[in-house]
């Protein structure tokens, strides 16, 4: 059944989803739930809050299916857009309060280069580095390289032009390169 669903076009999936087709909805949930959780988690920095927001995103999807019209947007982009709005709303309520709830430890800068090069980037270090970026840069990094969304999808999700996303991506990677330890140094 899932195989068949994956062969459907975005428009067909949306039409079935609007009819509250159980199989299609289950497919959407299982396909996008982990990615949405990661996206929210990297933006928020708190696992429990990220889970709450992720669940809320799917409820919003159910509520909005009736009025959703296919206009070239993939349903994934629509889900990320819902998540984006919810995250922005959450961050606004939090007043840009820094989240310190990431459980993983940050790599000690005093460690030797060999250890650093061999160490994988943990969540805490990544989150700490993302916090040094602007919101727009952090979001582009997360969507483009942690969620593997295309330039076009990121432009749709964030409501910016593709050119703006490319420029943001370039500046964000340069900034992140300065914040993270170089590989193989």
């Amino acid at each position: 059944m899932l195989v068949l669903i994956e062969s459907l076009s975005d428009q067909e999936i949306i039409e079935r989803a609007k009819a509250y087709d159980h199989a299609v909805l289950q497919h959407l949930y299982e396909a996008y739930s982990p990615a949405l959780f990661r996206y929210i988690y990297y933006r928020i920095g708190d696992r429990e809050t990220a889970e709450d927001i992720r669940a809320d995103v799917f409820i919003k999807m159910l509520e909005g299916l009736g009025s959703f019209n296919y206009q070239g947007w993939s349903i994934a982009s629509w889900l990320y857009r819902i998540a984006h709005d919810r995250v922005v709303d959450h961050l606004r309520r939090q007043g840009r309060r820094k989240q310190e709830t990431l459980v993983d430890t940050v790599v000690d800068p005093a460690d030797g280069p060999d250890q650093q090069s061999l160490a994988s980037l943990d969540h805490a270090e990544l989150y700490a580095a993302l916090q040094q970026l602007t919101d727009e840069q952090a979001e582009v990094i997360i969507l483009r390289f942690l969620q593997d969304r295309s330039i076009r999808d990121v432009a749709q999700i964030t409501g910016r032009s593709e050119g703006a996303i490319k420029a943001l991506q370039h500046r964000a990677l340069n900034a992140l390169g300065r914040l993270l330890r170089p590989v193989g140094d």
């Binding site: 159980h22 889970e51 669940a55 943990d122 370039h170």
Partner: protein
């Protein structure tokens, strides 16, 4: 390295091209490419965060909720949304809202409009509309307020040195009198009486300050003030009288008005209440009899009773009927036979032929009550008394008997011609003198 090249390098690296290959391909940008790709390599090493344990429960909740939506999926939510999203509905609502808004704006703007302004018609229209929708028991108060508004308009026109339309003056005076009539049957303590009286006085003051150059007819200006003044006095008089008396005053306004008119005999006849065509002649005739002897009897009786009537008669008109006749009547019974003395009544026949029969009838009609009245008002007999003095004291004495003499005159009308011959006059007054 520009944004497009960086995007090209990133795409290539994501498609499996190594960092070294990219650096060799773009040697001039080797450092920039390393700086660009290194964080991507680090990001690749990030372990995906695990979902919290309750995530599976969340999925079950989601699917249950989806089932609920599926069960309810039908016309209900769609109909609501389709109704609310109808463009024509929103367009209509917007137009109606704008119309109400603009209408309200125009009405509020017209509130200060003056006669001659473009919005004045709208103002009057809205006033009449609101009056039409006012409960009947509150309409008088609203009408008084509207008269007050007209008064303010006139004052504003005067202040702006603009001409005051005669039609506006006529309208406001007529409306004032109309309200006065409508208030007649109300209780004397009705606050609207005082309110109308105040408005009336303000109106008089306002009309009085209208520059003469703004008036087409100065005489009319004066008439309006007089009319308003009379109306105001009627309000006061009716407030101090019983309801029945008040109605009587209103029904016979000329009688009550006479004293005021007397001050200006020339104006008197013109100022009569326009709405009450009155029967001024019947009272005027009757009193002449009595007055002639009482007032400066020398000239009046002999000269022209026809001209005198207005000034002389009116006071008596009020007194009329009761007092003046009463004193005479009291004496009449005893002196009826002495009527022969009145040869001097040469004037009487012309002045009031109707009176002659009155005198003869009075004894028979009003004797019982007349005798008592005379005792109270001996002054009426005194010839030195000015008619005006008599009236006020006698007016209040209400006697239905008064009407009888006035009504009966027609019958004896033919008598006058005979009276002088037969009775040789009925000179009660003469006998007094």
């Amino acid at each position: 390295m520009n944004d497009n090249l960086s995007e090209l390098v990133i795409d290539a690296w994501q498609n499996g091209v190594s960092l070294e290959t990219l650096c060799q391909q773009y040697p001039h940008h080797a450092d920039a490419i390393r700086q660009l790709i290194n964080p991507l390599i680090k990001l690749q090493q990030v372990k995906a965060p695990t979902l919290p344990p309750r995530a599976s429960q969340a999925q079950a909740d989601f699917l249950r909720l989806a089932q609920h939506y599926r069960a309810q999926a039908g016309a209900k939510p769609k109909q609501r949304r389709s109704l609310l999203t109808q463009r024509w509905l929103w367009a209509t609502a917007t137009i109606v809202f704008l119309l109400c808004l603009s209408g309200n704006f125009v009405l509020s703007a017209s509130a200060s409009a003056l006669p001659g302004d473009n919005l004045y018609g709208i103002k009057r229209w809205s006033e009449s509309l609101s009056l039409a929708f006012t409960p009947s028991d509150q309409q008088l108060a609203v009408r008084i307020e509207l008269v007050n508004e007209r008064q303010r308009e006139i004052a504003s026109l005067v202040a702006l040195n603009k001409p005051v339309p005669n039609s506006l003056l006529d309208e406001v005076v007529n409306e004032t009198q109309s309200i006065e009539l409508a208030l007649a049957p109300t209780h004397t303590n009705d606050p609207r009486r005082d309110q109308l009286r105040q408005v009336n006085q303000q109106l008089q003051t306002t009309i009085a300050i209208i520059p003469t150059e703004n008036l087409s007819d100065d005489l009319k200006h004066h008439d309006l003030i007089e009319t308003l003044d009379q109306s105001s006095q009627r309000i006061i008089a009716s407030a101090s009288a019983t309801p029945t008396q008040m109605v009587k005053l209103l029904l016979e306004p000329t009688i009550a008005d006479q004293p005021i008119i007397l001050s200006d005999p020339t104006v008197g006849p013109n100022i009569a209440n326009p709405r009450v065509p009155p029967k001024p002649q019947t009272p005027t005739l009757e009193p002449t009899e009595v007055v002639l002897p009482t007032s400066t009897s020398t000239a009046l009786p002999t000269l022209k009773p026809t001209k005198v009537p207005a000034p002389v008669v009116k006071p008596i008109a009020t007194a009329t009927l009761v007092p003046t006749m009463l004193p005479t009547s009291t004496e009449v019974p005893t002196e009826v036979p002495t009527a022969t003395e009145v040869p001097t009544a040469t004037a009487l026949p012309t002045a009031a032929p109707t009176n002659v029969p009155l005198a003869t009838e009075i004894p028979s009609i009003g004797l019982p009550s007349a005798t008592t009245v005379v005792v109270r008002n001996p002054t009426a007999i005194l010839p030195t008394k000015v008619p005006e003095d008599i009236k006020p004291t006698e007016v209040p004495t209400p006697q239905p008997t008064v009407e009888s003499p006035t009504k009966e005159p027609p019958a004896p009308v033919p008598a006058p011609t005979k009276v002088p011959e037969d009775s040789k006059g009925q000179p009660q007054p003469v006998s007094h003198n």
